[in-house]
């Protein structure tokens, strides 16, 4: 039951939101449920530390026959990070998102995303995972197009179509795998594949289809196109949420699949994934340098930073995977917070074009510091969380003897810094260009909740850097568990109450 709550909590909100009309009650209820979700996720932490892997067989049907929900340390960590991001973005959205949108169900759809994301992190069954992907896709698509502005529609259509391809690949992969092996349970599949390792290459087409589907979701090169096309169009609170959560689910699934299925054919997958990561890192940061829209720069950087995570996986050592997990978590916080600051700038200035913006630092040093913390964390400067993440990745690379890859990861950091400083110089330091008249909203709108959310996030970013050791230790344990699929298989298949 303990894991089901992560699906049923958002589900309850969705039901309630259908019944309630008033926007203010919807918002308050959303914050309340986001808090519950956070508390519940935190409650899983001691349990998973005690039990290593939490398994729930839904409906009481034993493992390969029913649907299993499984949460190991990695899943729980992702659940907690998701809950934190979701909680803070919800607080932020109560003020940032306009009333019309809130009334027509902004939170209704965000909870749809939460349900999908939570479900994906605990799914122990590939078809069930597919279902959660669909929940996520549908809610995020509607959230993106809600409001129906022209740019928004264009972005969201691209988002939808390219992601439907991902879904198509995924479901074809699921079908093939089920046709071949007759089971959908991930633990069962892993066990069968390790028995039939001589047949492995015949399974690869199905696995390739699924990996491509994850790569599309995770916005890896060359499957990232949907992301920069769509993330800068919806209201900032929406982009913040999507940037914080969506790609991470794709990468989570990739890591899960790698450690359960793909590792059997490591020579093929390892190089493929490693170089996909390297390319993502380089191309993402390269494309970002050319942009002059606050959110577009950040969007392209998502691609680059996802690359970091994937090379951590590609090293396929304990330290590599631990680094990948840490980096993933750091990125969820830092990236989301950068988007939150962008949202405030947009609200204040009415635009996010770097060329027309300026003087924000003078106007509000606090938001300046908040951006500075998240941006420099993304660029990997000490003592922020991004520095630890970058350090761990590079160290893992050196230990795994991938010196060149580690060097590339190192210098990509410099270009990230360049983009972030570009935003800083243009938006925060420069005077507003005189020939560019920007319409300023007549009355200064209150933003205390937005500020609170962003400050909490910034504090977490700093704290994750200053007190990294416990988190890194946890990530290492999680990596050890991931590299030991027998434990996973055993706990799921030989489940007893």
């Amino acid at each position: 039951m303990i894991l089901l709550a992560h699906i049923l909590l958002p589900f309850t909100y969705i039901l309630l939101a259908l019944l309630i009309k008033k926007a203010s009650i919807k918002s308050r209820l959303a914050v309340l449920f986001a808090t519950f979700n956070l508390l519940w996720a935190l409650a899983l932490l001691p349990i998973v530390q005690f039990k290593d892997i939490i398994v729930v067989q839904v409906g009481g049907w034993a493992a390969p026959y029913g649907i299993s929900l499984v949460a190991d340390r990695f899943s729980v960590f992702m659940l907690i990070m998701t809950a934190i991001v979701f909680f803070l973005v919800t607080i932020y959205a109560t003020q940032s998102v306009d009333k019309a949108r809130r009334k027509s169900g902004h939170f209704f759809f965000t909870f749809g995303i939460l349900m999908g994301v939570n479900g994906s992190f605990i799914a122990g069954d590939i078809f069930n995972l597919y279902v959660w992907y669909e929940v996520m896709l549908m809610s995020s698509f509607i959230l993106m197009s809600l409001g129906g502005e022209r740019a928004q529609m264009e972005g969201s259509i691209k988002y939808l179509i390219l992601n439907l391809i991902s879904a198509l690949f995924f479901v074809s992969g699921v079908g093939l795998l089920y046709g071949n092996l007759g089971t959908l349970n991930m633990a069962d599949l892993s066990a069968i594949i390790s028995e039939k390792s001589h047949m492995l290459t015949h399974l690869n087409p199905a696995l390739i289809l699924m990996v491509v589907s994850f790569a599309i979701k995770g916005a890896l090169v060359p499957f990232f196109f949907w992301l920069p096309a769509s993330y800068h169009t919806p209201p900032p609170a929406v982009s913040a949420l999507l940037a914080g959560l969506l790609t991470k689910v794709g990468i989570y699934s990739l890591i899960r699949f790698y450690t359960l299925f793909l590792y059997h054919d490591a020579p093929f997958w390892n190089q493929l994934i490693l170089w996909m990561g390297v390319l993502s890192m380089v191309i993402g940061v390269f494309a970002a340098s050319s942009q002059f829209d606050f959110r577009k720069i950040l969007s392209f950087h998502i691609i680059s930073q996802v690359g970091y995570v994937v090379i951590g996986l590609g090293f396929y050592t304990v330290s590599g995977i631990a680094a990948a997990i840490f980096f993933l978590a750091h990125n969820m916080l830092s990236k989301t917070n950068a988007f939150l600051v962008a949202g405030w700038v947009k609200r204040q200035k009415g635009t996010l074009n770097l060329k027309t913006l300026g003087e924000v630092y003078k106007e509000s040093p606090v938001w300046g510091v908040l951006f500075f913390i998240s941006a420099f964390s993304l660029a990997g400067l000490p003592p922020l969380s991004g520095f630890i993440g970058k350090y761990l990745i590079i160290k893992a690379g050196i230990e795994a003897n991938y010196i060149v890859v580690a060097l590339i990861a190192l210098f990509v950091g410099l270009f990230t810094l360049f983009s972030m400083v570009k935003i800083w110089l243009e938006v925060f330091w420069k005077d507003v260009p005189k020939d560019r008249v920007v319409k300023i909203p007549e009355k200064k709108r209150k933003s205390q909740y937005m500020l609170t959310a962003s400050i909490i996030m910034a504090i977490l970013i700093v704290a994750m850097g200053l007190w990294a050791q416990p988190i890194v230790t946890y990530c290492e344990q999680a990596a050890v568990d991931l590299l030991n699929p027998e434990l996973y298989i055993d706990r799921v298949l030989n489940f007893s109450r």
Binding site: F127, G148, H202, P205, L425
Partner: protein
């Protein structure tokens, strides 16, 4: 006693962060109050200096760090105490100086925050006993200096300069990080004291040259060595107190410090020596040479700093006990006079409003005390007795003469640079302070007596200190020998004297002064020559070059980004499919044996064949259809065909579902078809052929994959379970139903949510649209 240092460095950071909250209380006294902190550090270090033995290092352990193995523990030995004394001492004076200099600036709390954090980072850097911690502070100095250099950020120039400084020093920082991780990986520790105590030297490791070049890159970027020197003159954009601090004791000297600190681990090899001598030598001469052609006092000083740093790097490269000693003494000399001179530049700027040495004239009248301080500082810079500068320069000459094997090139360069320094020193002092009839008299905005004592204290105290240490350099002997012990690993007796007796070195000094005076006398023609040279050099103006490289990079990036992220949907899809096909075929090549299923294919019945034939025909029809409606109808035929196929193979319920879905889709399509734009063929013939080929390829691949899937005999465990237990356990007669609502009910729940989302989404989108229409109508009315 030393333990308090841990606390003090932490306090610097804490206070730095809290300045914005302290400032409203203290207002203009903030600078003075803050200056207490570095003063206390200075006193603590002074006491340590007096009590520390010549072979003693003090380790201050700490248990806190970001990660284990990276605790913030500190180390006091000769090297760190010397650097620490200058950092805290000059920091104290700078804070005093700032409290008046910055009084009229906006955003003073920001200024003090950056400055205090910078001070903390710099102090932490020199005392760190852990390479990792050293790096953290190293990066923090880069970040803090970014904010300090860009303090006047409404100016384009400031922003450019801060960006350049940050990118270059951050590049160096990354190199350092990599080198440190490699070192830690090889030796298993980041602790400096362990590396020194176990005398671990990496000279023979295969990664040595990688580590060496990374460390050197870090040092020469930070210490503004050729060809990375150009960020330093740009950094002049910072307010003067900052320049004074960056140049004299902090930031740029960090590179020199790094070289000295890592000497025991990676120093002393042939590559190390020659690389350092090369960069140091070039930088030393170039800096001195370029300082001659400048007008702005701060720029002149900036180039002399570059030269001085070059000298230190060169000395480290010469790599004899004498040269290392000379480098450290020279660092002290330089810190004292450069800090003083920059503050003097600030005083002149405040009292006259100009820094152009050819505009200013006869300043002695207005600011006599400053003039005396300036005289002492300039004498020290020129390397004349009785200042510490003389002692320093004598040591430098001695080291250069003794340079093994290469003194013939090092010595002339050194003497040449020094001659230029003498000339610059005399020129600067003469132009500024001596009255000259030919130039217009300078108007004073403020006279010296109008300034508070704190504003003048720095320059005067540093000048006196230079004089005092020059008179009794023995004071430094003990600490120097301690520093040398931990750098080169063996102790030696150190004797510092102002007067060495008549020898080779003294002769060289006299020669230097002669030539320097000569250049000063003929400064007009010399300046002309240098100006032409600088004008020629300006074509390769490095800051501009740097900017244009960045611009070119952005141009390239935007060009290629438009190529990658082009916005054409069909090409995105094309990429997805092609890459997937490529990946699948790539892995197919790895299979050597291809076997058909043993059972072969079962024979196809005639009605199935007919069905497939009709479906294929409708595919072709759909592709070539001229109207939308016919295409959709053809698609419907395919859908029904698939439904029939299900029926033939016994899946009745699937077939019913398929028929239902197809029917609904058809109806919806026909309903919306009226609203769609006119059907037209926009793509060219070639692109249609290309798309056709790709589509066929994708189809063929899917077929292949499905056929191959037959190779593995499916395991029917799960479906058997459903068949056996749906009635007995799940109490349902229809297996599909039991699967949907019992065995896999969670999937159904998820799908229901998807449908709810979709329905609610359509509803919301419509309502938004209606609201917008209403608003439009209201506006019209």
């Amino acid at each position: 006693m030393g333990n308090i240092l841990l606390l003090l460095i932490g306090l610097l950071f804490l206070v730095g962060v809290l300045v914005p909250f302290i400032y409203p209380v203290l207002k203009k006294r903030t600078g003075v109050v803050l200056s207490v902190l570095p003063l206390v550090i200075f006193i603590v270090l002074l006491l340590e200096l007096l009590s520390i033995g010549s072979r003693e290092s003090i380790i201050l352990d700490s248990t806190w760090g970001f990660l284990s193995g990276m605790e913030f523990s500190y180390r006091l030995d000769g090297l760190s105490i010397i650097f620490g004394l200058l950092i805290s001492g000059i920091g104290f004076l700078i804070l005093l100086f700032s409290s008046y200099y910055m009084a009229k600036y906006d955003r003073q709390p920001h200024f003090y925050t950056y400055l205090t954090l910078f001070m903390g980072a710099m102090t932490g850097l020199v005392f760190a006993d852990n390479l990792f911690v050293l790096f953290v502070f190293w990066e923090l100095t880069s970040v803090a200096s970014f904010f300090l250099i860009g303090f006047d950020h409404h100016l384009e120039k400031s922003r450019q300069a801060s960006l350049q400084a940050l990118l270059i020093t951050a590049f160096g920082g990354l190199c350092l990080l990599f080198a440190i991780i490699l070192t830690g990986n090889i030796t298993g520790t980041y602790r400096i004291s362990e590396l020194i105590n176990y005398s671990i030297h990496l000279g023979n490791h295969p990664h040595y040259y990688l580590i060496l070049s990374l460390v050197l890159l870090a040092a020469i970027t930070k210490s503004a060595q050729f060809p990375f020197h150009f960020w330093l003159p740009g950094a002049m954009q910072a307010p003067t107190p900052i320049s004074a601090y960056l140049h004299s004791a902090t930031m740029v000297n960090a590179g020199v410090f790094l070289l000295l600190r890592l000497y025991p681990v990676i120093g002393g090899t042939v590559a190390w020596k020659y690389l350092l001598i090369l960069t140091g030598g070039i930088t030393m001469f170039l800096g001195a040479f370029l300082s001659m052609g400048q007008r702005d006092l701060k720029r002149i000083l900036a180039f002399t700093t570059i030269s001085a740093l070059g000298t230190m790097v060169l000395l480290i490269g010469i790599d004899t006990p004498n040269s290392i000693k000379a480098a450290i003494v020279f660092f002290i000399v330089h810190g004292l006079y450069k800090g003083g001179l920059f503050m003097i530049a600030g005083i002149i700027d405040k009292s006259t409003g100009s820094r152009d040495i050819y505009e200013l004239n006869g300043l002695f009248r207005g600011i006599p005390v400053t003039a005396i301080a300036a005289l002492l500082a300039v004498i020290s810079m020129a390397g004349l007795p009785p200042m510490l500068g003389f002692v320093g320069k004598e040591l430098v000459y001695e080291a250069q003469i003794q340079a093994p094997g290469i003194s013939w090139i090092v010595l002339p360069l050194g003497v040449g640079a020094n001659i230029l320094m003498v000339a610059v020193s005399i020129t600067v002092f003469y132009e500024l302070f001596v009255f000259n009839k030919n130039k217009p008299a300078t108007k004073f905005k403020y006279h010296e007596r109008q300034f508070p004592v704190t504003f003048l204290a720095g320059a005067v105290l540093l000048a006196i200190l230079g004089l005092g240490l020059g008179m009794s350099p023995r004071f430094l002997e003990n600490i120097l020998s301690n520093a040398l012990y931990y750098i080169q690993g063996h102790s030696m007796e150190i004797k510092l004297r102002l007067w060495h007796g008549f020898n080779q070195v003294l002769m060289l000094s006299i020669f230097t002064i002669f030539c320097g005076v000569a250049i000063f006398l003929f400064r007009k023609p010399v300046n002309r020559v240098i100006s032409t040279f600088i004008n020629w050099l300006d074509r390769y103006h490095l800051p501009t070059l740097f900017t244009s490289v960045i611009n070119y990079y952005i141009y390239l990036a935007s060009k290629n980004t438009r190529r990658i992220q082009h916005g054409y949907h069909r090409f995105y899809l094309l990429t997805f499919f092609l890459v997937t096909i490529a990946l699948i075929s790539l892995q197919q090549f790895r299979i050597t044996e291809v076997t058909l299923p043993e059972s072969g294919f079962s024979p196809v019945k005639w009605h199935v064949a007919l069905l497939l034939f009709i479906a294929s025909l409708s595919v072709i029809f759909a592709v070539f259809a001229k109207t939308r409606l016919s295409a959709i109808l053809a698609m419907g035929v395919i859908g029904y065909g698939i439904g029939m196929l299900y029926l033939f193979y016994g899946a009745v319920d699937l077939a019913i579902t398929q028929f239902l879905v197809e029917t609904i889709i058809m109806i919806v399509f026909v309903m919306v078809i009226y609203y769609l734009p006119r059907f037209a063929i926009l793509s060219s013939k070639t692109s249609r052929i290309r798309d056709g080929i790709i589509s066929i390829a994708v189809g063929a691949f899917v077929t292949l994959i499905v056929l191959k899937a037959q190779l593995i005999k499916p395991d029917s465990r799960v479906s058997d379970f459903f068949v056996e237990n749906s009635y007995t356990l799940a109490h349902g007669k229809n297996i599909i139903n039991t699967i949907l609502i019992d065995f896999r009910s969670l999937d159904t729940l998820g799908e229901m949510v998807v449908i709810t989302m979709a329905a609610a989404g359509v509803f919301s989108l419509f309502r938004f649209q209606i609201q917008r229409l209403k608003k439009k109508e209201e506006k019209k009315e």
